[in-house]
């Protein structure tokens, strides 16, 4: 059927240049985590914490004023932004929330400069083979992971490949809050991987449980189950955010979030 080939040649390359050099990341208009501006925050106000469905926003522990935000639990539902009577919480397009340390997802007023010494072990700067395990996600994350291989993002151009066998994998990419039924298969996949190996928690569920974590059937993400090398909250994180997370793991990009804030 030559018509596929001919029309394909005629229409040219559909891939974005983004990720290697400047280009369209494809996320125009996509909302990310709400931004917090403590200057506008009212002292006795609790509406944002009450509106938050996943307890990402809590009142600061006793004695302190204001709120505590854990972006690892945020599902970017924007309910807090709508509830906030001032502009303390505003919508943003900050979706590239991949971090190496869980603490970086907790909002602090003055982020300390990086734990910058973290380096990916030698030999893994260019290419990665990834084994994905769905540990109970809502399939939003799967939909975005599948999108990585569409011609627009074309993940192969960056040297990242999904592999069928954990024996060939460098990275275990986990989505979902880890249901009890999936815990065994997940650990088996991890055990089957050769060392060195890394674990990525993709999506708010895998980072901290999200809307599904806890309860009778689920754990609260990978915490206490596997050692995590990279956390990427988001519900679901968009394909560009996942690509940034891969690049961060490979030390090909800088981490953008420190102390729960976007460095820009």
């Amino acid at each position: 059927m030559p018509f596929w080939t001919i029309s394909g040649l005629f229409r040219g390359n559909a891939s974005t240049k983004w990720g290697v050099r400047d280009g369209d990341d494809g996320q125009e208009g996509v909302l990310g985590m709400p931004r917090f501006n403590p200057a506008h925050c009212l002292t006795d106000c609790t509406v944002c914490a009450e509106s938050c469905p996943t307890e990402a926003i809590t009142m600061a522990p006793n004695g302190e004023a204001g709120i505590a935000i854990d972006y690892g639990k945020c599902v970017a539902c924007q309910l807090c932004v709508e509830a906030c009577p001032t502009d303390a919480l505003t919508t943003s397009h900050d979706w590239a929330f991949g971090v190496r340390h869980r603490e970086d997802l907790h909002w602090v007023s003055e982020p300390t400069p990086d734990h910058a010494t973290h380096k990916t072990p030698s030999g893994f700067f260019r290419s990665l083979h990834v084994r994905h395990v769905d540990a109970g996600s809502c399939n939003g994350c799967e939909s975005e992971l599948q999108a990585l291989n569409n011609p627009f993002y074309n993940l192969h151009r960056l040297g990242v490949f999904f592999t069928a066998s954990p024996r060939f994998a460098d990275v275990l990419l986990v989505t979902g809050p880890v249901t009890h039924a999936m815990r065994g298969p997940l650990l088996a996949a991890y055990e089957a991987m050769p060392e060195p190996r890394w674990v990525m928690a993709i999506g708010t569920c895998a980072v901290a449980g999200g809307t599904a974590g806890g309860g009778e059937f689920c754990a609260n993400g990978l915490e206490g189950i596997l050692p995590v090398d990279l956390y990427l909250p988001g519900c679901p994180p968009n394909p560009a955010a996942i690509i940034e997370a891969f690049m961060l793991l490979l030390a090909r990009k800088q981490q953008r979030v420190k102390g729960g804030q976007y460095a820009g």
Binding site: M1, F3, W4, T5, S7, G8, A14, Q27, E28, G29, V30, L31, S51, P53, V75, A76, C77, Q78, L79, E82, R131, V133, D134, A135, G136, S137, C138, N139, G140, C141, E142, S143, E144, L145, Q146, A147, N149, N150, P151, F152, Y153, F162, A164, G176, P177, T179, H180, A181, M182, P185, G210, T211, A212, G215, E216, F217, C218, C235, P236, N238
Partner: protein, 525 residues
């Protein structure tokens, strides 16, 4: 003698049968009751499920022994069972709720019966209830007496007592999953096969059961929407819509017309990106790689339109009980982008239809006959590809579908090709509807005031890209959610799917599965 494994074809209903006539199966004149001596002496007691307005079901209470005759009566009048759910009451008492859909007359009937400890199983008469009863057994500890497949469905914490089907050395057993190749959802499939021929197949699902229905307990309806959006990501909008509509019925809230139109419009946008991704995936399984790339690229473009319009590629955070959380600005770019996407989709589907190597793999693959589809509860494009002419958007109109012509493509053959063709026709019908809504969109408010009374209840539904989706919502004190039941389309279609795999061959399996376009998170919840 070995225990019979699930599913067993012989077990299909003796009760319902349907005609080959296209419109609105089944025709009541061809219904034959297996237990003809069962008398229909149920005194129907009309009640209210929330308000009876807005197409809400009539509630018929009956004694536990009268469930069967009551269901038989409803189904002989052209009704079809949609779902069964249970509401725990005090102590060991509980309430069984059977939802019957009378598509022809556009109404629902809810048959409600109270019981203690043990309930009678209806699965022998209405096979599609088999999974509902097993799920209730697992999650609520309620026993269904004389169940034809008395195995656990949802729980994985104990062995289910089934023995291997065969020890014949020529028959190979192939357990596949729960972690499978490529980026897919988790589920385990057991194949028994000899050479290429599949002798027996059953899916082992619910690895992903998160107990989402229980998560709603104690939430406000506003927060509940956020949870509904996260039951099945690729059905986020339909889930949020069905949930919000259930809440609105329970509170008697009337949604402004502009919000209704935008809801329909967004619902069709969800169908567009899902169907395009479906086509790409189907092309992948037939190893038509260019077709795969193109389909996935178009799905990506549709998702980017979603993101630009609503801030979410999955159309999340838009719906609130009472309307929409904020108004959407549909500017000229939207129509332009959508027209461009439609043009590309036309070009793409024409190429697919002209690719003989692709079509050859679909024709006669995984045929699902009309009767099996009907008895086992197929829904959405799967049912419509097997000659069952049902669509909630037309039969039980919601949002702004009453102002639209909703084309319902139906095919008779029931093979992968029919499922593929139905989806293509639906895709372009969705483009048409979005365009019509965009042109006619009225100015006005998008959110009406919404307060939730205590102890109200409501049923909400939506025709998601995968079929009929229901939310039964019961409120407790202070207007907080007390009990929520989600009937997702994939729960229905996973039940049907194995019937098309038995006696087929390994080579066609992936194509057949892709042609169903099932979601596992939606099924497992």
């Amino acid at each position: 003698m070995e225990e019979k494994p699930y599913p067993v074809r012989k077990m299909t209903a003796k009760l319902v049968s349907i005609s080959d006539k296209t419109n609105h199966a089944p025709q009541s004149d061809v219904m034959v009751a297996a237990d003809a001596d069962a008398q229909m002496d149920v005194p129907p007691k009309p009640g209210a499920f929330g308000e009876t307005e807005g197409g809400q079901p009539n509630v018929v209470s009956c004694r536990i022994d009268d469930i069967l005759p009551a269901l038989q009566q409803e189904c002989s009048n052209g009704g079809r069972l949609e779902m069964l759910y249970v509401r725990p009451k005090s102590g060991s008492a509980f309430e069984l709720c059977y939802l019957v859909n009378h598509a022809e007359s556009g109404r629902f009937v809810m048959i409600v019966s109270e019981a203690m400890d043990v309930a009678p199983s209806m699965a022998r008469h209405f096979p599609l209830l088999g999974w509902y009863e097993r799920e209730i057994q697992d999650l609520f500890g309620i026993k269904f007496a004389d169940h034809p497949e008395p195995y656990p469905l949802v729980r994985h914490d104990h062995k289910d007592g089934r023995k291997p089907l065969s020890h014949d050395p020529d028959v190979q057993r192939f357990p596949f999953g729960p972690i499978r190749a490529d980026v897919v959802e988790s589920a385990e499939f057991a194949f028994y096969y000899a050479g290429e021929a599949i002798l027996h197949y059953h899916p082992h699902l619910f690895f992903k059961h998160r107990g989402m229905e229980r998560r709603f307990e104690g939430l406000t309806p506003q927060t509940g929407v956020i949870f509904a959006e996260r039951v099945s990501g690729i059905g986020s909008f339909a889930h949020a819509l069905a949930f919000a509509q259930a809440c609105e019925v329970a509170s008697g809230c009337v949604v402004p017309q502009r919000a209704k139109m935008l809801r329909s419009l967004l619902g069709e946008l969800e169908r567009i990106y899902n169907h395009l991704a479906y086509l790409g995936h189907l092309a992948d399984t037939t190893t038509l790689k260019v077709g795969q790339a193109e389909g996935k690229l178009l799905a990506e473009r549709a998702k980017q339109i979603n993101g630009k319009l609503t801030g979410s590629r999955f159309l999340r955070s838009v719906i609130a009980p009472g309307g929409l959380r904020r108004d959407l600005e549909l500017k000229a770019w939207f129509e332009l982008d959508l027209d461009r996407l439609r043009g590309q989709a036309e070009w793409y589907t024409n190429f697919l239809l002209a690719s003989n190597s692709f079509r050859d793999r679909l024709l006669t693959t995984g045929p699902l006959d009309q009767r099996t589809a009907y008895d086992q509860g197929a829904t959405g494009p799967i049912a419509r590809a097997s000659g069952i002419d049902r669509d909630l958007r037309r039969d039980h109109s919601y949002a702004a579908y009453d102002t639209l012509t909703v084309p319902v493509p139906v095919r008779q053959k029931g093979d992968a090709d029919a499922r593929f063709r139905v989806r293509i026709e639906e895709l372009f019908a969705s483009f048409d509807m979005v365009k019509a809504l965009f042109r006619r969109l009225e100015k006005g408010p998008v959110l009406s005031s919404y307060t939730q009374e205590a102890y109200a209840e409501g049923l909400g539904w939506a025709e998601s890209p995968r079929g009929s989706l229901f939310y039964a919502v019961h409120f407790g004190p202070e207007g907080r959610l007390q009990h929520v039941k989600i009937k997702s389309p994939s729960f229905s279609n996973w039940r049907v799917f194995p019937f098309t795999v038995q006696d087929s061959n390994m080579m066609d399996y992936a194509i057949n599965e892709a042609s169903f376009g099932l979601s596992i998170a939606g099924c497992d919840r």
